[in-house]
């Protein structure tokens, strides 16, 4: 029976169950104020559009997340490689990364604002820091865990250091780079609220905080759902990338 329902069917079922659960929450008096029903939330799209902020908020957040993520990614690649390649660098830098990684971005936001002021720059900086930390550590660990016999095999076939890097280390770390991208986009989104608490003019995170002052729970819930949807879209894009680039990987059934 379980096998006979196609994956799409399960997804629809899951969605339906979520809607049902949501509706129940909207009917229980004690939770109804946090969870307005689906019609009220859908209606709030119009409200936010009328206020002229709906698309502005979405694009602003997307710009911050994608720029912060991109800079974080570009920085994390060389750092991860250098850490994996040179032990002294690893011994000095890795503790820093591990230390800062556990601090919630919200904690260092004021410090960023003091130096970078308000506006777009501090938002991008906060997301860059958060995504850089998770991605550099993930890529570094991936490179470090490359099967040493692959490197030996390349060596005995005549590979020099440069060949080993280009023809073994680079392709072998691709799956970890993709994992890093997945984690990086997720962290980018989760640090959005912190990033936009830097006196942002627009943005999904900034708007949620603003709406909380007026207890407008319908648009708040709408924005929360939008962040979730953006996360799903990112996840899908990464999956697509993964299938194109690392289809050769052994499938591990989880």
């Amino acid at each position: 029976m379980v096998e006979r329902i196609p994956n799409g069917g399960w997804l629809a079922l899951s969605l339906l169950a979520a809607l049902l659960f949501w509706t129940i929450l909207s009917l229980i008096p004690s939770t109804s104020r946090s969870f307005p029903n689906i019609f009220l939330v859908t209606e709030s799209i119009g409200t936010m559009m009328q206020r002229g902020v709906f698309w502005k908020d979405i694009t602003s957040s997307l710009i911050s997340v994608t720029s912060g993520f991109s800079i974080g990614f570009i920085l994390s690649l060389p750092v991860a490689i250098v850490m994996a390649w040179y032990k002294p660098v690893r011994f000095i830098i890795e503790p820093w990364i591990q230390f800062i990684r556990n601090i919630p971005p919200l904690a260092y936001v004021p410090l960023v604002v003091i130096s970078a002021g308000v506006g777009r720059t501090p938002q991008i900086i906060v997301i860059t820091i958060a995504t850089f930390l998770i991605m550099s550590i993930t890529i570094y660990q991936g490179i470090k865990n490359i099967d040493p016999t692959l490197i030996k095999a390349a060596k005995v076939l005549g590979a020099r250091d440069r060949d080993i890097f280009m023809k073994v280390v680079a392709p072998a770390s691709l799956p970890f780079i993709i994992t890093a991208i997945r984690l990086g986009t997720a962290v980018g989104l989760t640090s959005l609220i912190a990033a936009e608490s830097t006196g942002a003019q627009a943005g999904l995170g900034m708007r949620i905080r603003a709406l909380s002052n007026t207890f407008e729970s319908s648009p708040m819930l709408l924005y929360i759902i939008i962040i979730g949807i953006i996360g799903l879209i990112f996840e899908r894009l990464v999956k697509l990338l993964e299938r194109r680039l690392t289809g050769w990987q052994e499938k591990r059934d989880v």
Partner: protein, 263 residues
Amino acid sequence: MAGETRRVKVKIDQVKKVFDSRNGEVVALNGVDLDIHENEFVTVVGPSGCGKSTLLNIIAGLEKPTSGVVRCDGKEITGTGTERGVVFQQYALFPWLTVKGNVQFGLNLQGIKGKKADEIANKYIKLVDLQDFVNHYPKELSGGMKQRVAIARAYAANPSVLLMDEPFGALDAQTRTQLQEELLHTWDSEQKTCFFITHDVEEAILLGQKVVIMSARPGRIKEVVDVKISYPRNQETRMTQEFLDVKNYVWGQVYQEYLAVRK
């Protein structure tokens, strides 16, 4: 073929290898002397931890001896070289390359590309009977097929010495038997000096012209047994009295070393 006097291909001279470990120094090899002749098939047996893989790594140039010298064609080995190919127990195929890509890996590094590389790759892929899997990725292959690719990859780079570190150790008995015969067949058609490590006494005798028995740590060469059984050998060879006699003898010698390890 056995018994001819031939040129020494690999000369192992008083090789000692000491590893530093947390519990002090571990002597893996001590005073190992061995001559491997050109086109000879030498197999090595010994209890685990006797340093046989270390010896292979030193010949391959992946490790350096603490003292002593290994020479190949008279030249001291100081690093890896394409005249010495290696087949690893864990296959060590590049998972992002197809069968063909793996077999061509060494060729490309040697500057052989395009049509020429295709030709050579196809020849060896055919030799190991994988012509129907040219564009498959390693994940789509069974263990036996993966090891065939690894053998083809080693052959394609055209080494004169082939070093094999328990290449069939991870395979099931049936596949192993099949690959043993294939390897002998390949060795017959493409003469190479083979240095083959195994923990399987029968395999050592079936394949080798010489069986090198190593002693428990510190690894030394206990005895070199000449296997005078003529080639071609196959699974029926295992049933012959001659084979069983050698097996009993070698097994007795190896068993003493296993006992030594247990103490």
